[in-house]
Symmetry: C2
Subunit: 559 residues, 2 copies
Amino acid sequence: MTQSTELPPALPEGGLRVVALGGIGEVGRNMTVFEHAGRLLVVDCGVLFPEDDQPGVDLILPDFRAIEDRLDDIDAIVLTHGHEDHIGAVPFLLKLRPDVPVVGSRFTLALLAAKCKEHRQNPRLVEVREGQRQPFGPFELEFFAVNHSIPDALAVAIRTPAGLVLHTGDIKLDQLPLDGRLTDLAGFSRLGDEGVDLFLVDSTNAEVPGFVVPEREIGPVLENVIRKADQRVIVACFASHVHRVQQVLDVAVQYQRKVAFVGRSMVRNMGIASELGFLNVPDGLFVDLDEAMRMQEDEVLFVSTGSQGEPLSALSRMARGEHRQISIREGDTVILASSLIPGNENAVFNVVNGLAKLGATVVHQGNAKVHVSGHSPAGELLFLYNAVRPSNVMPVHGEWRHLRANAALAVATGVAEDHVVIAEDGVVVDLVDGKAAVSGRVVVGHVYVDGLSVGDVGESTLSDRLVLGEGGFISISVAIDTATGRAVAPPTISGRGFSDDPKALEGVVPLVEMELARTEAEGITDTHRVAQAVRRVVGRWVAETYRRRPMIVPTVIPV
Amino acid sequence: MTQSTELPPALPEGGLRVVALGGIGEVGRNMTVFEHAGRLLVVDCGVLFPEDDQPGVDLILPDFRAIEDRLDDIDAIVLTHGHEDHIGAVPFLLKLRPDVPVVGSRFTLALLAAKCKEHRQNPRLVEVREGQRQPFGPFELEFFAVNHSIPDALAVAIRTPAGLVLHTGDIKLDQLPLDGRLTDLAGFSRLGDEGVDLFLVDSTNAEVPGFVVPEREIGPVLENVIRKADQRVIVACFASHVHRVQQVLDVAVQYQRKVAFVGRSMVRNMGIASELGFLNVPDGLFVDLDEAMRMQEDEVLFVSTGSQGEPLSALSRMARGEHRQISIREGDTVILASSLIPGNENAVFNVVNGLAKLGATVVHQGNAKVHVSGHSPAGELLFLYNAVRPSNVMPVHGEWRHLRANAALAVATGVAEDHVVIAEDGVVVDLVDGKAAVSGRVVVGHVYVDGLSVGDVGESTLSDRLVLGEGGFISISVAIDTATGRAVAPPTISGRGFSDDPKALEGVVPLVEMELARTEAEGITDTHRVAQAVRRVVGRWVAETYRRRPMIVPTVIPV
């Protein structure tokens, strides 16, 4: 588990190199690059959603710098499933090389195609399915059915002369999946018999003991809640969770409610899912929102986005009483059939409180079993390790706490401790002669998307935003005569985000004037030096007077 | 459960009025004011810690405006226990009226006294204990032992001619408390026999089914972890959780480890607790930090603050490798024996990940039973309702979701639905002729403490901070000749928190210059109008070019 900060040496001939450009040491923006014989294979290319210390950022992309000079060497982008943290950054990579084949299952590619259409891209899609084997350059791929919180997920085995690699993607072992499509543990065992040289394993739930409850146990809980409802029912969940929605639809049918989808991504994804046969919908079940609003309250059920408290989502608008069509009334039932992603708690509970205040009965993960995770906890990971019996293990998809926990599980099943490689983003792992080891490190930073541009918002901008967000700023504008250094007008001083009191800054004006008199007396005409002097005076005054740290922004105009 | 936005009428003679100035509709800054016969009684006076949408704020106080003209009518401030959300704002109230008696148990008052000393206040303290009855003005108070996550907590009964009120404070029903001091359910039953007219009940855990696990079950879990540790052990928990710390000390004694406290509030509170006999410490157990650093790694245990991931705390510094004395090594053990307060998840998991990356084994609520809550869940609340059999109920201490859940529990035990009053902050509830009902509403806003000043940071400042924190700002400074409207120098344009690209704003310069030429040509000399014109041009350009919304800050200096 050593770490190097050096660039790796050339990959020994016949070896396989693995580098994550995102997704290890964090949950999101999964992207792993495999290299063999001068060619590259990319597995997943997702986005990460920003946290509190990345304000104003829309998305975070994997860092493509390590491969930007080698884009032509990429033989394929393989997508394990259709979640945003696995496919969301594909359009940004396709912008750099539009013709690279994008490989995935039917549902995954359908979601990707919809996304690419929004970016006005027309990618080369290569549909594959479980059981299939297909070469891309020197990489012989084999796909395995995997159960997760989205249909049609795949694990991928990668055969090269360097050895056999198995990448789980996101995985769990629900033994009673709604669609009957089990994770192919038998296939993994067969690979194990062949000999898996490197096993990349989903770490997300490695800290959680035990096993996941089957998805189908959510159905009876939903039924129990919806049965008792005599007014409107609104169910919020992830827009890609087809099996969750399926169970909602089944209960709706049972209680003679029509269903309306609310929220752009829900409407789009469920359209795709039902068109492709992943969602089983009786004729006439769906109504549009306008029609739903004209129906009796106990004859309709809404399936909505917004389960993570996103402020602009339909559900948040309802909770604030601002939704254009749906207003919550005392006695309505709202079910958040979803996880609570760490960091979203305040947003989600704001929504729950808003709904409760309006009189709705709110059912959520905290008071009913309306969600199960899509990732294998520790008990299931042990099954995976014992099926695969890998020579080397590399935990992926997780923060450090998850990676450590996953590594410990691998060791517990008999993997040699020095064959478990914890390699966060950018750490280069080479598989040579059957042994995986860290050989170096490439630079992997955060690539921020903010509005229309990618990459111009960086650490310096974010650090300024954090300062401004905590304390606002005080600006002081001065025009000086560059010949004499004399201020040609009184300084203009104002603050934003500093105080509601219009007189808050009055006390500093004479100090600034005195300082300007001093710089003039000393014959200082350099605008930069005058600005520094003003900044110092104002900064000291505000620290002493208020014990706060706003940004101090002096502007000295030479006239 | 109706709400009024009108000021309440005068309180009918012989009635009792109840208004929360904080703590209902939120978790924190608990403060309830009782009024009878022209006199006031305050129960608790705590602070609330800010959330994401209140950036830069240090503390939030209850809003004293409703009583600021009646400070002389206050007969006492009663403190149910010593947590910050119950005592933290007392110094701010004492500033307005220093001589009001502050009533509480021994430990509560000791913590308050330490706090007041920091504010250079010397309050009039009146120590009481369970079983005691004492009048303050027309309010005949009786105190009851209550079990919570801090020692020496009290519930308070308030007798006036209007009726008998019981306020639980924060409460749980641990039946095997570490100090043997049970919540006085028998006393509550006796009050119930007498007839409780209004019951104010802690709602914090009303959504959670069942019962809390006894605090003493944490001990064996800690023991199990610490037994296996052969290097340093660091336990983080709340600085006021004396019983949690007691169990840590007991395990330390068992495994021959000395104990060092880390963090100012931990050192202070545990000093008070051991001095007053609430913490049982064998002679020679404590060592100071310097001494601890000289000892063998397996001979010492640190008890630290920072269990909520506070960035400046000792534990956060250790996780970042920035603590002056303690550096975490591979194989160290860190236990977060604490709750995870919603909203703190990112901060806490950042600490856990930092520690995991450094190689520590991190034990926390998510992977071991190292915390139990201090608040009664639903099962225990039912016991309380059935013991007290109140005529009227008012859920307190909670967000809307908690209040609704608590109200439902009251109704389930037989309290008439129209005798359960959900009254958030500012809602006035009058108990008249044995019936509690909403009679109006007073204004209760958020009172922010930021640095040295109270109240000057308000909604407008916070809303500016949110804008600045999301998008930064672009400032444009122009000096114009007030006679002609001519710009006497090229405009100065710069951004902070907008882009890392130094050329990001180049494109707008010619547009601003064109606009200034236009305003000059139109003879506009008014600085405000010029500023507006500049703001419009820059705002439109940035929205079109970047699809972002920085604050646009034009300054026009007349020369």
